[in-house]
Subunit: 378 residues, 2 copies
Amino acid sequence: MSAIRYELIKTCAQTGARLGRVHTPHGAIDTPTFMPVGTLASVKGVSPEELKALGAQIVLSNTYHLFLRPGHELVREAGGLHKFMNWDRPILTDSGGFQVFSLSEMRKIREEGVEFRSHLNGDKLFLSPEIATNVQNALGSDIIMAFDECPPYPAEYDYVKQSTERTSRWAERCLKAHERPDEQGLFAIVQGGMFKDLRQMSARDLTSLDFPGYAVGGLSVGEPKHLMYEMLEETVPLLPSGKPRYLMGVGSPDALVEGSMRGIDMFDCVLPTRIARNGTAMTSQGRLVVKNAKYANDFGPLDPECSCYACRNYSRAYIRHLIRADEMFGLRLTSIHNLHFLVHLMEQVREAIREDRLRDFRDEFFEKYGMADNESGF
Amino acid sequence: MSAIRYELIKTCAQTGARLGRVHTPHGAIDTPTFMPVGTLASVKGVSPEELKALGAQIVLSNTYHLFLRPGHELVREAGGLHKFMNWDRPILTDSGGFQVFSLSEMRKIREEGVEFRSHLNGDKLFLSPEIATNVQNALGSDIIMAFDECPPYPAEYDYVKQSTERTSRWAERCLKAHERPDEQGLFAIVQGGMFKDLRQMSARDLTSLDFPGYAVGGLSVGEPKHLMYEMLEETVPLLPSGKPRYLMGVGSPDALVEGSMRGIDMFDCVLPTRIARNGTAMTSQGRLVVKNAKYANDFGPLDPECSCYACRNYSRAYIRHLIRADEMFGLRLTSIHNLHFLVHLMEQVREAIREDRLRDFRDEFFEKYGMADNESGF
């Protein structure tokens, strides 16, 4: 019995979008969904109660970071990640693959795994499909990810082919190493860079093994968005309709809508909390840099259409003051607001799917939100 | 009709402590009380809802800091400090006097007021009794403080005498400049350094004018604690029993108890939040530096006797992990805990006064808390 079960409620008649639910040991998630990122077992500045109040149903945490500190054995000893961080809803952990390739230093990739140095203190460390899986077994997250290599963009065809084949072999090793399949669902990650045939090969290889869910990795790595959407259109139809589909590292409002239209069920990204800490709010009218001088005497909320805690109680002028004065509470308010914005956007996406009008919703949203953001990476 | 009214409920038979209530335009405060400090219109890292949940009845904000940024006119335009910071309970603002003398640069004291340079950008600024009062009129706090000079420790008798006389003249000017006496209560500040006769002179001069409350300033400035208590014993009996008495800048647990025993009703200090941000918790067993390695695998709460949000939900191991990783949420948890500790301590002090056993409570508390802290400034 798999720990994860996908329930398809309906498909949008206007698009390929799916309304569904992902059932996990810690409850169900309505999909399509956006997952806030709590890298080090905390969504920066936001409490579990605040996450629930803004509508978050699941959070993501990073295996690489927790492996470095406080260490997965400590989390195991604490009773697992849910108890450690006081979050009783579903948790997804990534495998550490992406961070090993993007953050660590002096990495050496071998068939066995990856040797690297900690970005914190230079310690020599090693992660393999088996270790990454067992670390996630110790963390106890509901959804765990296979250890993969995420090729950079741009990359040569031959390198990506070799890497994608290895990622498939590694996925199979993760499946074998997985110690808690009844409690944690292991998702495989489709790679293949920007090459359609390699995406197809990866999807075919991985779906030949019976994973409870599939992610699309290696996108949103610097390529133009139309290329990301092309790759999705090439990949998603090859994934089994009875399993959840997760587009990794994507969190710009436009890409959440476009990804949903192409059949994606789950998204995550540090974008909303990262730009929040820089004083930028996502609003129904597009980006708002609340630090700007023009908001000094603006006593309206960040977003007049928003019902989040920050918008109900605080003005742009107050939040600007706090952020300029390096007051923690300012970053908390913008973080809560941005997470609420994306979580609420996904509620609207689900509603539009239910009513078979996601394409219309997309057009209306983009017109209001500003197409300028569509290619900006925001 | 004064904005502030003091209601004496009873005096402790074992000590000089008073159980009472201070009535303000934004509700009543049970005294003796500890006031959390929200320097820049935010108690660092803690929301108004969290302050209420931990039992805070009043907060203090700093006029000097708000005068510099965002500026009192902006706060006035926002509808006052309560609305600006979303706090509907009482607020006390200091006068900026202490900060002008401790933080600013190149200050020149004249009878008219103090010229100084902003510690932020070097701007040349001027504060006088009239300006400091009118700035606080713009902020709209329930209790405002007279503009005073706080002499350093140690200081020469002649200097302190001159300064204390000026502080009394300034207090009278504040009273005249005060534009909203029906909505805001202006407290005078007794100075006089460590000289008994100057303390007496200051108390006599100020009580000859009818202020709705009196503060004792110029203590906890580096002198040994026994000297502070001597000065209190010299000063407090000269203050009218029908008005609240506020000991400024004092927040170590032992001094809160000792001050209450000597008839003080109100206290404030940045200590609990400042040491919280450094990873130090106040607990029923004394200080706990949660960053220390020995707490890495400690899955108990910061204080086993505490019922605050942090202690109910998070372990020392988790909080240590967050603080070591520079996660904002860790500082929020230690800040909530320390504020709860002091607010709860004052609840216990009030209960002990009610039962005429504050001296017994003091002895029991110190035995458990550790007398080592008694002279340490913690």
